[in-house]
């Protein structure tokens, strides 16, 4: 696919409000919009491989219901006729849910994730399930058991991960919005690599019910869209308390789009020195620093700040996330759902054979690491230590937010890398998340917004981090960056 056709795809992608009002006015129908996106998937996805499954008839039936409402002149719900896709770690009743893993092959969950149900209730059209790293473990989408996703801006490069399919689908104009999940950067980093907006909501803002768990104290669900406004609109729909997730917050959900155009005049924005140190690609540095200068020109006060424990974030993250994963993934044992290895003489042998057959190398590596750091004699040295450093990293942010309203950084240290470039070196791959894991550990919110391109035409993202439950502020900053 040429760069021209990709750009055309993104250019002609509708906005949420544009689609909804066009349907309301009778200028188009939800069916026609759905068919356009289905045709794009049929035409472009064989090269990108963002979708793992699509259901043409299900989407058209949803669209027909919206068209029936419009024909009667009834008010349309907020996301009426908006085609969306969801990362395949979220459940939709009756639809295959693989989590990018062979171990869930053939599994059709009997329940729907709360975030997905809220989108459907708001009139969105469900196109299909999106490719991702196995159990959301990866930074490149190369760990999917169903093959990698290709970056729409350069098919030889990765889209980022783990929500690579969710980012690529929006970038290629194959969905208006998508849902992804972010445990250590899995929404923000692919958003940066694919040149779209990706939101990490505050921990507890969106219910995790129906999310196939990786690391429960870190996992979050958030939207991808082509614009900050669309991403903010989707978050407004999926956020809120849910009795099915005890960690979901009861705080009221504000209208995230109300203050979008207020600009950054008078806002205090922090620039942490640790995020511009060694290892940052020069083109990324130039693009993000250029973006910061424009925010200054827009009236923001830019302050140099320090988040002193930043360099300990990756080791802290990989201890905590793998420990939680080793526990969460114990449930995949061939008894209740998914794959079971044939012909085992004993239960113990069945467990081991099933997990050997079903899990890929990165998942096994993380289960082993997590089991090791939790095991007798190592718990204090690794797991407890990492939890202590997690508090220090979080306190860094709480202190910084005493003097600034938001923090701006690069999202990732480099633009998208080549498929295969880092797949044999786990530590090098983990460093792709170096600027994103800190916010994951602290539970604060963040968004990645496009802020330029490299000379080779690869997107570069700026990450904006905000206080717990202060998504409104990061969207305002993001909107200002988008307008630059």
């Amino acid at each position: 696919m040429s760069a021209e056709t990709m750009n055309a795809g993104t250019m002609t992608a509708g906005s949420i409000e544009g689609i909804r009002s066009a349907i309301a006015k009778g200028e188009t129908t939800a069916t026609a919009v759905t068919e356009i996106y289905q045709a794009r998937i049929a035409g472009d996805d064989p090269r990108i491989h963002a979708f793992l499954s699509v259901d043409r008839d299900f989407a058209l039936a949803q669209a027909a219901r919206i068209d029936a409402l419009a024909a009667k002149g009834e008010p349309l719900p907020k996301l009426a006729g908006v085609p969306f896709g969801i990362k395949d770690v979220l459940t939709v009743e009756g639809f295959a849910a693989t989590a990018g893993s062979k171990i869930l092959e053939g599994y059709r969950p009997p329940y729907t994730a709360t975030a997905v149900k809220k989108l459907a209730d708001a009139g969105a059209i469900f196109l299909g399930k999106l490719n991702c790293d196995e159990f959301a473990m990866g930074s490149s989408n190369e760990n999917s058991a169903y093959g990698p996703v290709h970056n729409p801006h350069d098919l030889e490069r990765v889209p980022g991960g783990s929500s690579g399919g969710s980012a690529a689908a929006v970038a290629a104009g194959m969905a208006v919005a998508t849902l992804g999940t972010d445990t250590g950067g899995s929404i923000r980093q692919p958003a940066s690599f694919c040149g779209v907006v990706g939101v990490l909501p505050t921990y507890g803002r969106v219910s995790r019910y129906g999310l196939i768990a990786f690391a429960s104290s870190l996992d979050r669900i958030g939207p991808f869209a082509a614009t900050v406004r669309d991403a903010a609109t989707v978050l407004g729909v999926i956020a809120g308390h849910d009795v099915m997730d005890a960690t979901s917050s009861t705080l009221p959900v504000p209208d995230y789009t109300a203050d979008l155009e207020r600009g950054v005049k008078g806002m205090k924005l922090g620039v942490p020195a640790e995020y511009f140190a060694e290892g940052l690609d020069e083109e990324v540095r130039a693009a993000v620093e250029g973006g910061i200068e424009k925010l200054r020109a827009g009236g923001a006060e830019i302050r140099q700040i320090s988040l002193p424990h930043t360099r300990y974030a990756i080791p802290t993250y990989y201890v905590i996330a793998t420990a939680e994963a080793s526990s969460n993934l114990a449930r995949f044992d061939g008894v209740r759902y998914g794959l079971r290895a044939p012909q085992s003489d004993t239960l113990a042998a069945m467990y081991r054979k099933t997990r050997d057959l079903g899990f890929g190398a990165e998942v096994k590596r993380r289960i082993l690491l997590g089991t090791y750091v939790l095991s007798h004699g190592y718990y204090e040295a690794y797991y407890r230590k990492a939890q202590q450093v997690r508090r220090l990293l979080t306190e860094d942010f709480l202190k910084a937010f005493g003097e600034v309203d938001a923090i701006v950084t690069p999202t990732a240290p480099t633009p998208a890398f080549k498929i295969g470039e880092k797949s044999d070196d786990p530590v090098a791959m983990y460093l792709a998340d170096i600027y994103t894991v800190t916010a994951s550990l602290a539970g604060i919110c963040g968004v990645s917004v496009p802020c330029g391109k490299s000379r080779a035409g690869l997107p570069i993202g700026m990450q904006i981090l905000g206080r717990h439950f202060d998504e409104t502020t990061i969207f305002r900053v993001g909107q200002a960056v988008e307008r630059l």
Partner: protein
């Protein structure tokens, strides 16, 4: 990096057993290499003195210390009452092997 060998082949086999994973000889040696590389990297946490730092397991712990969100960490638990849940038949339909009432598994006790 000096080969301090934090993780031996026996360690890999021990955690593989704890994690119910079956590894080939190739996988065992690769996992030994990878775990040592990752844990060498993790070792930098030892530089930090955390003797006086409370471990943080959940984000709600720090939200509890912040004014307007103070109620989030310790809000009331939901009422302990029976609620509708997934239908038994629907859940059993996902099982690899079932008699309709129970999950069927191979022999549990090894002799």
């Amino acid at each position: 990096m000096a080969e301090t060998e934090r993780v031996s082949l026996d360690d890999v086999r021990r955690v593989a057993e704890l994690g119910n994973l079956e590894l080939t000889a190739d996988e065992e040696s690769r996992m030994r290499r990878d775990l040592n590389a990752i844990l060498d990297y993790v070792a930098q946490l030892e530089e930090l003195d955390t003797a006086q730092v409370e471990p943080m397991a959940q984000v709600s712990e720090v939200l509890g210390t912040r004014g307007e969100i103070a109620s989030e960490g310790d809000r009331e638990l939901r009422e302990d009452a029976v609620r509708p849940c997934l239908d038994h038949d629907v859940v059993m339909a996902s099982a690899p092997e079932t008699d309709g009432v129970f999950f069927k598994v191979p022999k549990v006790i090894e002799r």
